[in-house]
Point group: C3
Chain length 169, copies 3
């Protein structure tokens, strides 16, 4: 089954692009984000309104591999949005990002149904001042590399436009 | 008439690349930047010296749609450099970036003359700490998406080298 | 002889990709980084372990042009990792980055042996607050542009995947 990693910066249109890949039928939206403040709550509401009634939404801030294992199916594609918040959640919970990523990668090597994962590219600015931010950036980069190596397709989105980085039949 | 959006990071060579698209004849340079300090004044002078005497320069910090409407012409191409400073100017002036962008996009859908617009990609680093910076980044991303959707060509420049993201005949 | 510039963000997989270009035989690794603290020492150790015993490592924090001039040879390819630390070293030493870059570019125009250089893309985030960081970003962008203009191949790496920006036979 197909697996697609959609990379992009903030406000690059990566989520809209990823949703477009699954348009035209029911799909399962796995939200990793949690509404801790008003700004975040508003973004989550915006995303949900945009997707419309064909989509079922579930929230999974931490156990992504287990969640996908449960829900992957040839009948209904899954969109995971996004890995960046997932990494942030894992770090806050004191969990091992590397181990969780390995579990996820294992599952994505030959997924039981179509899945699209959205992730941010955060490493193209200057080195951040504080160690925590550098650690986050390192995790994000390693997660992107690891999942890019197992997903069949990798797309980089800028200004809403896709650039195909990898395409395996 | 052709419309081209040139995206790139800081010191990516995007302005030089954009100027090269219009080389070989008279052109109109629409500068959105204003020399508030010495660093900025120096950059503006450098840009102007590089373009040479074939170019006419006008300054338009805010009313970009009206300015283009007045000056677009099949005889003389226009270069707008850059949308990033324009967004910053609009925000400082308390104007509605979304509304101004819609007006600009409307005009670029079928422009009365060739036009090239330069814009920065600023969303590929970490999430900034302060709300103002996040708002700016959101505006910049939305402007790039909106204009990329109406311009015929979109080029991403890195290290002075172009990557064609969109090319419509 | 071939010269390749490998660009990418932090944790983009650019070093691993660059090493892969030279795999399968002896190579010379020119490290510009110096282990000033534990974090850096660990990264240097990790890189060295990954490359294995086929590689000879030398350290050259500042005199990169002279070092390449001495070591370039058709028999043994060179990997320079990375230009970003080199720029940082030059700035700390109060040396002229532009002049040093010109010397390096001159050498890379027609190198006496195969060489791969790794550099970071740091200009795709927001404008940094402090002048020193802006200067560093400007230097990094100019070095990338200058070397991209003379190297035969330029590759942008994201999530471990290469995007060919320039390829001259």
């Amino acid at each position: 089954m197909s697996s697609t990693l959609v990379l992009g910066g903030a406000r690059s249109g990566k989520s809209v692009y990823a949703e477009g890949l699954l348009a035209g039928g029911p799909a399962l939206y796995v939200a990793t984000g949690q509404a801790f403040d008003d700004e975040m709550a508003e973004r989550i509401r915006d995303h949900r309104d945009r997707r419309g009634p064909d989509w079922t939404t579930i929230e999974e801030p931490l156990e992504l591999a287990a969640c996908l294992d449960r829900h992957l199916s040839p009948e209904r594609p899954i969109l995971v949005d996004c890995l960046t918040l997932w990494i942030s959640n894992l770090m806050h919970a004191g969990l091992d990002v590397g181990h969780q990523t390995d579990r996820l990668a294992e599952l994505l090597r030959d997924p039981a149904g179509p899945v699209v994962l959205v992730s941010s590219e955060v490493g193209l600015g200057l080195v951040p001042d504080n160690k925590m931010a550098r650690e986050f950036r390192d995790h994000q980069g390693r997660v992107n590399q690891k999942l890019a190596s197992v997903c069949r397709r990798v797309v980089f989105v800028a200004a809403g436009l896709p650039l195909i980085m990898k395409d395996t039949l």
